[in-house]
Symmetry: C2
Subunit: 343 residues, 2 copies
């Protein structure tokens, strides 16, 4: 089973990125400071789009840069690319073969923007189109559900922002991260013990906020890809504007709630969900919050800005276990291929 | 039943906006041209967030402006607002009481950005915070599920872009729109005849692309709010990157597929979904595409860029009918309030 193997490789992948790609990232950070972008645009699809959501918070909070997600069809189908000449434009794709994302980079180059591709293939079309490239160095990912390339994308973004603001405290946190990821994997060994309970779950929702908005989306995507059930990832705030109406007795919800600035808001929502009888599966490093869940998915204490790199891991393991208890093909879900080329 | 009444008021609301708010919008458009923004940031939650998705395509394709959606928690919870001084910052909210969106406008003012609020209440905190305000003029919306204020938001954005680029052809299309909306309502009178079939539907998905990406999200939100079932809106492209795995025999999908540049791509996805045995409910003005659906929700022929203002209407009626056949409270869904203030 490649999926299990790839999930377990994450400490080594993150350590390798830190050791071998940091010099390249330092040079790119210097080029970005010299370019002095007015804003950042990120183009991505699927799992990589969730990495872009993380980048929106990290660039915004740590580097003061406003990040927007690209609408690639403006470049491909409509052929009316917006003005990007003052932008840092980043394309993210595991395979580097996303043709629509590559087109965004190409249009941005023509306009004089600064372009960067983040892929797991240095020979890919996207890597060759962008002015700069960061290699995810994750090794081949065989399972169709992306796991190690997702956390490698987050780590790459975190390294880039840490070098952009030249912050030693951030660098130290990232150097220590492989250990926290290993601890998370050790904690997650408990998940198979209670996975059976969700064998006949047919719908669910996931919630996160701030940095972990991305995590909620990514866990939702993993469960959908691997288990063929509908569900959705939400921001804690957006969930209150409508979707909370779907929650009744026993409704299963994965809540991503590590310690940090947004935790009081998430905790308040947890209380409201408990009143409605929701069944809560909580990912946290806070004892009080963990105790509010029927299922407790523990992660180690890390600073909030880097927490998405650990909080997604129990979600990956949960999604994999759900596929296993249902007898589904874990490495090759029905109707998906590893490389999806959209226009 | 206020919901039905408010859905039916949409032709008058759109006509009123065109007649009474256009001079104000012209002045705002002139101010935006003078400011010459490097990019646009839109802050919104819930239904208004879907209006922002429409704006991303319209500003991009027609005015060459790159639009990003704001992460309000960077302003409220994290208190690290990104740099917005070269941006046009637009806050959208029916009530004008979204405190997090107001904070984005306030921070943008401090930085020297150009700020605009679009609300249905000229006395609201957001209207008073922004430098400019556009009144939706929709009259009081009593039903909790937003309908007429959503199409009014789209019309406001369309009017603003038409005035920004001073395009007479666009103006003419918008002047004629109330008639197309009335025609759509007339066509939608057929929906109650087949609504019963979906009485026990427990999950669904909606698909759109380009301009109608917003429509897919908004219809999904209406069904979730009114019927308490899980579902999700997708871009045609994103759906191929994972969620397509959830589609099996009989899976119900609402496909927004009016004539336009993206239709061939959506049509290709429709074929793939039919191969998987999905049950298709199609919103279109194209006879060939309509014929591919088990249920046909017809809309009149309008230019693609304005089509979201009509294509959402059968979705509103479908969501209302589903609530009715299930015996749910249509005007006040369980656990929702008209004004949701998040931070």
């Amino acid at each position: 089973m490649f999926l299990q193997k790839e999930i377990n490789e994450q400490p080594q992948v993150i350590a390798r990125l830190y050791q071998e790609e940091r010099d390249n990232i330092k040079q790119i950070a210097a080029a970005i400071r010299a370019f002095d972008p007015a804003f950042v645009v990120i183009a991505a699809r699927g799992t990589s789009d969730n990495a872009a959501r993380y980048a929106q918070y990290l660039f915004g909070a740590q580097a003061g840069l406003s990040v927007g997600l690209s609408a690639p069809s403006l470049h491909t189908l409509y052929q009316t690319p917006p003005t990007l000449k003052r932008a840092l434009v980043i394309g993210i794709s595991q395979s580097g073969q996303a043709e629509d994302v590559r087109r965004v980079l190409e249009d941005a180059n023509k306009q004089g923007a600064l372009t960067l591709a983040i892929t797991n293939n240095i020979e890919s079309p996207m890597a060759k189109t962008a002015q700069y490239h960061i290699d995810l160095m994750a090794g081949e990912e065989i399972s169709i559900a992306a796991t190690k390339t997702y956390t490698a994308q987050l780590m790459t973004i975190a390294l880039l922002v840490a070098e952009l603001v030249e912050n030693d405290a951030m660098r130290a946190v990232l150097a220590d991260l492989p250990r926290s990821i290993q601890t998370t994997l050790d904690y997650s060994a408990d998940i198979p013990n209670w996975a059976d309970r969700y064998r006949y779950m047919t719908q669910f929702a996931t919630i996160g906020r701030g940095y972990n908005y991305a995590t909620a989306f990514e866990i939702s995507l993993k469960v959908k890809e691997l288990c063929y059930i509908t569900g959705e990832g939400y921001s804690e705030a957006d969930f209150r504007h409508g979707p909370i109406a779907t929650v009744g007795q026993g409704f299963p919800m994965v809540i991503v709630a590590p310690q940090g600035v947004v935790l009081p808001n998430v905790q308040d929502l947890i209380n409201k969900l408990k009143e409605r009888g929701a069944e809560l599966l909580i990912i946290s490093n806070d004892e009080t919050v963990l105790a509010m869940g029927l299922q407790q998915m523990r992660v180690p204490v890390v600073p909030e800005w880097v927490s998405p790199i650990v909080t997604v891991i129990p979600g990956q393991v949960f999604a994999m276990q759900q596929a296993l208890v249902r007898g589904y093909a874990v490495d090759k879900p029905r109707g998906l291929s590893k490389v999806t080329v959209t226009q």
